[in-house]
Subunit: 187 residues, 2 copies
């Protein structure tokens, strides 16, 4: 494999050339937001773009460092802020690292043993997700929440566990401020 | 291990809190620049700071993602631009990734089989160093060349091979411009 370079455009919020661009719209996250009636009401009118992921084009193999730029848009489904799907790594003993570039939000994390932690992120935050912690980001700001992520190539992505269990904590707007509350539907 | 956050200050060019700050002065790189007489002449007057590394404080263990901010200062030893020591990974089959944040320079890479490649870096460049490639950065600009780096925790650092062999290419100033030339002392 030969060395190569791509460009992270801070202003345009993209990686070019991009290995793969993924769009996550509300229809891809059906049932993940607390207010299911509101989700369906929005989807009858529109299918808003929640986040985009620009992947760096590196093989998902041991020793490699796949990476991406995530652009999580501002918005809410009812009182709940826009968020990513969130996942565990299949190889549970692998970390991930985020560098905040723009905007603000929360990084929610949890273990299968039921530990939960939230880190506030903004431009310049280096957030370290240790092995064994599932991770989801939440945009609590007025503009796009943008961060660069790197993970070990053999990590693998397990989205299914979170799709079934949900996250322990929700990030909801209360009196104009984000608050973390227990997720009554967590199982 | 618990999740944690640090702050990368783009303006102050540091990570706080920092796991470990390393200074590399010219005296730490004796014999690495082409002009040995000039190196010694500078060292009789001064011991200039060539670069600083702010490490993120993550264990160097498999599954983890150690990371750092490198601040490589502008300057020359004779006609040769300031550079980092450069290294191979001990676990040769591990990659590294750089995100350029400020300034400009070259990322020099080479394999033990004698392949050589140089990538130009500036703010926003994502430079991917695949497994098996040694790597050194060179500041060819007027201000600090600053980049964020991430590597797999089990990579390990082999500085000795480069200390003995040197790099295949040198980056020298010729008529005010950086040029790559073969290293006559490479062995």
């Amino acid at each position: 494999m030969k060395p190569f370079a791509t460009t992270l455009s801070f202003a345009e919020r993209m990686i070019t050339p991009c290995g793969q661009r993924t769009e996550r719209r509300l229809s891809h996250m059906r049932g993940m937001y607390q207010d299911i009636a509101e989700t369906e009401a929005i989807l009858r009118r529109d299918d808003p773009l929640i986040y985009e992921v620009y992947a760096g084009g590196v093989p998902e193999k041991e020793g490699q460092l796949p990476h991406c730029l995530t652009v999580l848009y501002p918005g809410q489904v009812g009182d709940e802020y826009y968020m990513t799907k969130g996942h565990f790594h299949v190889a549970m003993d692998t970390a991930e690292i985020y560098l905040g570039l723009e905007g603000e939000g929360y990084l929610l994390m949890q273990t299968k043993e039921g530990d939960s932690q939230a880190l506030e992120m903004e431009r310049g935050t280096i957030a370290y997700i240790p092995p064994y912690w599932a991770h989801r980001t939440v945009n609590t700001g007025k503009g796009p929440f943008v961060f660069f992520a790197v993970w070990p190539g053999h990590a693998g992505h397990d989205y299914g566990t979170i799709e079934e269990s949900g996250f322990l904590k929700l990030v909801m707007e209360r009196d104009g401020q984000p608050v973390l509350i227990p997720n009554p539907r967590y199982r």
